[in-house]
Amino acid sequence: MDRVEFDIRGQMCPSTFLVALKEINARADILREGFVKLCFIIDNRDATVTIPESASNMGYAVTVEKKDRYYCIEVSGKRD
């Protein structure tokens, strides 16, 4: 599975969320087929709530991991 990474640290609210949503929607087909996994690198605490909430509502699997000084939100194909 390919992994596409987006570094969107430092951006204003709600740009982080809008960028993530746009990229998820642009790759909806290959995401659902399981060909790709998207990783959003963010430092916006609010987006650790809004991105997983929306991606999850759209039926994707989402994980949030705190790394050194940033968060990594991974969005992949459908949940079980």
Binding site: G10, R45, D46, R69, Y71
Partner: protein, 379 residues
């Protein structure tokens, strides 16, 4: 008089401590008032706005309890005025500005404390906007006087000629019932993944307590924007001294009250002097920035990233400038009106809120339009 018994020293220390607590709490819960209103209109998200309602309702109850206990020496607090058409106009512009800037006046401060370069840009805009007002002040003050609805009356209770407890109960009781209903349904809880996250309803309760302590000890709830004007005045006086001398606004001294804690008469205005307003607000501003920085540092989230799309810098600068100007036109900002004036049911604060709502809606539309055109690089 010794430095340590000077009233400015005592109120400065209190403001600094309150600011530290507020900045810490705001960072932990990302208590962004601009975001609450923006997301309500853009994404129909309501959890944060419910927490904001909790903040207002709990402040209504705490302020009234403090008043009835005789703890509020000045009621209504200083720098609140009778309602005018300036309130909704200023509120509307403020709503647009805060959404474009990515944070209101205190949102900008706590985000700046956590290392946001965009918020630093918005802060510079706030200073510019505050300074711009000085040039239009003579004309605007005439407009304010001509459109004052109830001269000499500030709160709804004063306008109706009743005891403040009556309108306070009329708002607080249904508000508390609604909040209790949301609480029972779990509608005040946000699923969170951020480290050290403080649920917004807890932040709301903490901020209402901080505001009440400020009102009791300082004589006013939290406020920051006059200091932005002071900074603008200082810069203007250094760069354009003759123009600065011609501006009447910087010579006004609207603050004049007796601080019950120290017994001192506190006076101050927007001019770049170290007066009571500076003694109260500058430590508060410093505290909010430092409290947020401390919270971010403890979580290892103190980051400075300047490589963001240029259009976001433009948005932050424009939003900050509009917000700075609006906070003088209104007059004063969302924190003063919504966390201070609204809890005592000040008519001007209610009008400010009514103007701010469509402003935040329009700001959200503009923001999305501008952000939609930016690109993002992937690896």
């Amino acid at each position: 008089m010794s430095l340590f018994v000077h009233p400015y020293f005592l109120i400065g220390i209190i403001s600094l401590l309150l600011g530290l607590a507020a900045g810490f709490v705001m960072h932990r819960s990302d208590f962004c008032i601009a975001g609450m209103y923006r997301d309500l209109f853009l994404f129909r998200r309501t959890v944060m706005i419910k927490s904001f309602m909790l903040l207002v309702v709990s402040s209504i109850v705490l302020f009234e309890a403090a008043r009835r206990a005789g703890l509020l020496s000045v009621y209504p607090f200083p720098l609140l005025y009778p309602p005018t058409a300036a309130n909704p106009i200023g509120g509307f512009l403020f709503g647009v500005g805060m959404v474009l800037a990515g944070g209101c006046v205190v949102g900008t401060l706590y985000k700046m404390g956590a290392g946001s370069v965009l918020s630093l840009t918005a802060f510079a805009g706030l200073i510019c906007g505050s300074g711009l007002y000085a040039d239009i002040h003579p004309a605007w003050i005439v407009f304010v006087r001509k459109t004052t609805f109830f001269p000499g009356k500030i709160t709804i209770a004063q306008i109706l000629g009743v005891d403040p407890v009556i309108p306070v109960l009329a708002v607080a009781v249904p508000g508390a019932l609604l909040l209790f209903f949301w609480h029972k349904r779990g509608a005040l809880i946000r699923p969170a993944f951020a480290a050290g996250y403080l649920q917004p309803y807890k932040a709301a309760l903490a901020l209402s307590l901080i505001g009440t302590i400020s009102y009791i000890l300082i004589g006013m709830p939290m406020g920051v924007t006059t200091s932005f004007t002071k900074i603008a005045g200082f810069i203007e006086s250094a760069l354009f001294p003759s123009h600065y001398d011609s501006l009447a606004f910087y010579k006004t001294m609207p603050l004049n009250y007796v601080n019950a804690l120290t017994g001192a008469v506190l006076t101050g205005g927007p001019g770049p002097n170290y007066d009571a307003l500076a003694a109260i607000q500058i430590p508060l501003i410093t505290g909010i920035i430092a409290g947020s920085a401390l919270s971010a540092a403890l979580l290892k989230e103190l980051n400075i990233h300047h490589r963001v799309p240029f259009r976001q810098y433009v948005l932050a600068a424009c939003g900050g400038t509009i917000m700075g100007l609006a906070s003088r036109l209104a007059p004063t900002c969302n924190v003063w009106h919504l966390l201070g004036g609204l809890p005592i049911l000040s008519a001007s604060s209610i009008l400010f809120l009514l103007g701010m709502l469509p402003g935040a809606w329009l700001g959200g539309l503009l923001l999305v339009k501008v952000l939609a055109k930016q690109g993002v690089r992937s690896t």
